[in-house]
């Protein structure tokens, strides 16, 4: 099976979708001829033509709105927002429009599309190339929110997202585009070639939305996370010797409560983790739901390991980012709580 990094896997996913269905189009700032600033749409304009894969003017609101209009006429748009930090100009079109077209028209119109966007920190990108704005969107009924953590899932989830027929905000952890990251700052990049999920089939397949993945089985505690931090959690379990069960959520809306509850009922101890700030982060939703479902099984308070309630810093990135060592301390705290 071919080995791909996440960029190649996403490119392959779009290639499959464009190939199979003439109604699929892909667009974004620099996404056409150049193939995107991360090269995710590389080669697709040359292959499918400039009215199927094209550059847009720099206007994120218009990009989202164009996707809505195209979807209303039966196209299946894949829109790229160059960085998740730049999705905010589009928020009205996503929150007030894209999310509600099906509902407010009682199903007469739909707005199925994928809004892909590079997401998260760990690349010394400063406050405007590092954000994790998923919680803004998990709060919006009508959009699904997906965050893959490896090449295999990225492709399968991308295909499933577009085929779902409803809008999906698809966050791509850019720190792990080219290889997994163990949360130890400034270590040389490792490669997807050595990771089992770096093997990606060429053709069509899906990874279902709403299904989490247990990436490590364990007994001592449960870790619920997504994106880059899945790999950091694995590294922390290894480094600390704590037998954590690590759940990669993959889909945030709708999230897989069954898998989470089953694990928490087994371990009784939980760390929920994300890079985004703590207050009203997605971890707050997870913690609340876990205590509703598993209150009597819990043996320690749910631990939220998150970024701080500050903008994302530049020079002190590693004081903000939940590193491997902070992760290990969080696991230790929940496992040692009486």
């Amino acid at each position: 099976m071919p080995v791909m990094n996440m960029i190649q896997a996403l490119n392959s996913g779009m290639d499959v979708l464009l190939e199979r269905d003439e109604d699929v189009v892909a667009f974004g700032e620099d996404a056409g001829y150049f193939g995107g600033v991360f090269k995710t749409t590389d080669g697709l304009q040359a292959k499918y033509g400039a009215d199927r894969v094209f550059d847009t003017p720099i206007n994120e609101a218009a990009i989202a709105a164009m996707a809505i209009g195209m979807a209303a006429r039966g196209l299946k748009p894949i829109a790229e927002i160059q960085f998740a930090d730049y999705i905010f100009p589009a928020i009205d079109q996503i929150v007030s429009e894209m999310s509600r077209i099906r509902y407010r028209s009682a199903g007469q119109f739909t707005s199925g599309c994928v809004v892909r966007t590079p997401w998260g920190g760990g690349i010394r990108g400063g406050q405007t190339h590092s954000m994790s704005p998923e919680a803004f969107f998990t709060h919006v009924p009508g959009v699904q929110v997906v965050v893959p953590s490896n090449p295999y899932d990225a492709k399968g989830l991308l295909i499933a997202s577009l085929e779902s027929g409803d809008p999906v905000i698809f966050f791509e952890p850019k720190r792990i585009y080219n290889g997994p990251f163990d949360g130890v700052p400034d270590k040389p990049l490792s490669s997807w070639a050595k990771h089992p999920k770096g093997e990606v089939p060429d053709g069509h397949y899906t990874v279902p939305l709403g299904k989490a993945d247990i990436v490590r089985e364990g007994e001592a505690c449960t870790v619920v996370t997504y994106g880059t931090l899945v790999h950091v959690a694995e590294a922390a379990a290894e480094a600390s010797g704590i037998d954590a069960e690590i759940i990669d959520l993959r889909t945030l809306v709708p999230y897989d409560i069954e898998t989470i509850a089953k694990s928490v009922n087994k371990t009784g101890r939980v760390v929920v983790a994300h890079e985004a700030p703590r207050t009203s982060g997605f971890g707050a939703e997870l913690a609340a739901q876990i205590q509703e479902e598993c209150f009597y099984a819990l043996e320690a308070p749910v631990f939220r390991l998150t970024g701080w309630d500050t903008p994302y810093p530049h020079a002190h990135e590693w004081a903000y980012f939940p590193t491997r060592d902070r992760f290990a301390r969080a696991m230790k705290t929940v496992t040692e709580a009486a």
Binding site: E29, D30, G32, Y33, F34, V37, G49, A50, D51, F54, D55, T56, P57, I58, N59, A61, A62, D85, Y86, F88, P89, R124, G125, G126, Q127, T128, H129, D186, R278, T279, W308, D309, T310, P311, P313, H314, A315, H316, A319, Y320
Partner: protein, 409 residues
């Protein structure tokens, strides 16, 4: 120019890599042709200026026409010095970025006149809301170079405490607003600032700069709407350097003839200016400032120029435009043109120019040594770690205090 057979028009640049660039299709008016109306003219009467091109330096490097600002040789030499310094500074910082001394860098090569001439034509108390490519303004306003470098290498003397990416300067003392990485946001903010100056009875004005690509953002249109409605004392500048990363200017321009012409719909005074002509940028800025200060509102200036280097250190322009495109750009190089003009006036010569370059190089090298003595991004010292919790609010609430404790700093 289009992308072959497509079902809707998708504009494409005139040349891609592998093609021979040739700008003879650009029918640019000659220097000296444009009329200079009184700065109190009705905005809608500036159509010729919006569709034309204000230029002063002709192909023989002589100042011609009504727009010649007739500034002294001392002012011209000062402008030349700031532009040379800007270029040498950019060159050096790029090298240092390649050596890992900073996380990121953006040069302004080819666009030095846009920044330096505008800053010199404005008053030092006029407020500027720049984009990330007007570092020349800082030199023109006399910012300490060591301070600029300390920001770029995020060290303990960085006045932004390491919070911002390099080149995203802030300098309140120099009336230089805090640069945002989010495109276009500063444009309507500048109008608000200008309205506040009017409210306070000051005769200061505000000026802002965005790129050609950024005119597509809603904030561009928001700014023009506010400016037109409130007649704010503002100068709104579009730096058309032909490229927005890999997208050529036609992706934002659409069927409009020029970016300046977009101001006409709002009845703003709108002028396209040769951005590689120091004298033209100086004259147009002076005109717009006079208009704003006299209560006649905002001018939209398009500075027609060329991004002579990569977008940033994350970019590789040979992937989307011919390598030689900049060399055949018909409006030349801003530093070379001002230099030749001064030589023609008998106010400059090659030996003095080389001496200037040498002095500026020494200044930059010496300044960097000093900057590095205050630390670097990777080796430190940085601002103290607990500063990441400061300035989120005026006072830290319990959450930030607790989080700081959790981090153990």
């Amino acid at each position: 120019m289009s992308n072959g057979e497509t079902r809707f028009r998708v504009p494409a640049p005139p040349f891609r890599p592998g093609e021979e660039p040739d700008f003879s299709h650009l029918k640019l008016p000659k220097a000296g042709e444009a009329k200079r109306p009184d700065p109190t003219v009705e905005g809608r009467e500036t159509q010729d200026l919006a569709l034309g091109l204000v230029g002063v330096l002709d192909h023989n490097h002589q100042a011609v026409g009504e727009w010649d600002p007739k500034v002294s040789a001392d002012v011209l030499r000062e402008g030349l010095k700031h532009m040379v310094l800007t270029r040498i500074y950019d060159e050096r910082m790029l090298k240092l970025q390649r050596q890992g001394k900073m996380s990121f860098y953006m040069k302004s090569k080819g666009e030095e006149a846009v920044a330096v001439a505008a800053a010199m034509a404005l008053r030092d108390d006029d407020m500027i809301f720049p984009s990330y490519r007007q570092q020349g303004m800082l030199f023109a306003r006399g910012r300490d170079i060591v301070d600029m470098m300390c920001h770029c290498i995020s060290n303990s003397r960085d006045n932004l405490k390491g919070r911002q990416l390099p080149v995203h300067y802030t300098w309140a003392e120099g009336n230089f607003f805090t640069i945002s990485g989010n495109l276009g946001t500063q444009f309507p903010q500048a109008v608000g600032y200008a309205m506040a100056c009017a409210y306070k009875g000051e005769d200061r004005i505000a000026a802002s700069w965005i790129g050609d690509g950024t005119t597509a953002e809603g904030d561009f249109h928001g700014a023009l709407t506010l400016a037109s409605t409130y007649r704010a004392p503002t100068i709104l500048n579009v730096v058309n350097n032909q490229w927005a990363i890999s997208s050529y200017q036609g992706i934002a321009l659409g069927d409009a003839p020029t970016f300046a012409s977009k101001g006409l719909g709002y009845c703003l005074a709108s002028i396209r200016v040769d951005g590689n002509d120091f004298l033209a940028v100086y004259a147009a800025t002076q005109w717009a400032a006079e208009r704003a200060r006299a209560g006649h509102g905002t001018t939209l200036l398009e500075l027609f120029t060329y991004r002579a280097d990569a977008h940033s250190t994350s970019d590789e322009p040979s992937k989307y435009r011919p390598k030689t495109e900049g060399e055949v750009w018909p409006l030349g190089d801003p530093i070379e043109r001002l230099k030749q003009h001064l030589i023609g006036l008998g106010e400059w010569d090659q030996a003095r120019h080389e001496q200037l370059e040498e002095e500026m190089t020494q200044l930059v090298v010496k300044s960097y040594k000093e900057a590095e003595s205050h630390g670097t991004l990777h080796e430190g010292p940085l601002a103290p770690t607990q500063t990441i919790f400061e300035d989120v609010y005026a006072e830290q609430d319990w959450r930030l205090k607790r989080q700081r404790q959790d981090l153990g700093v």
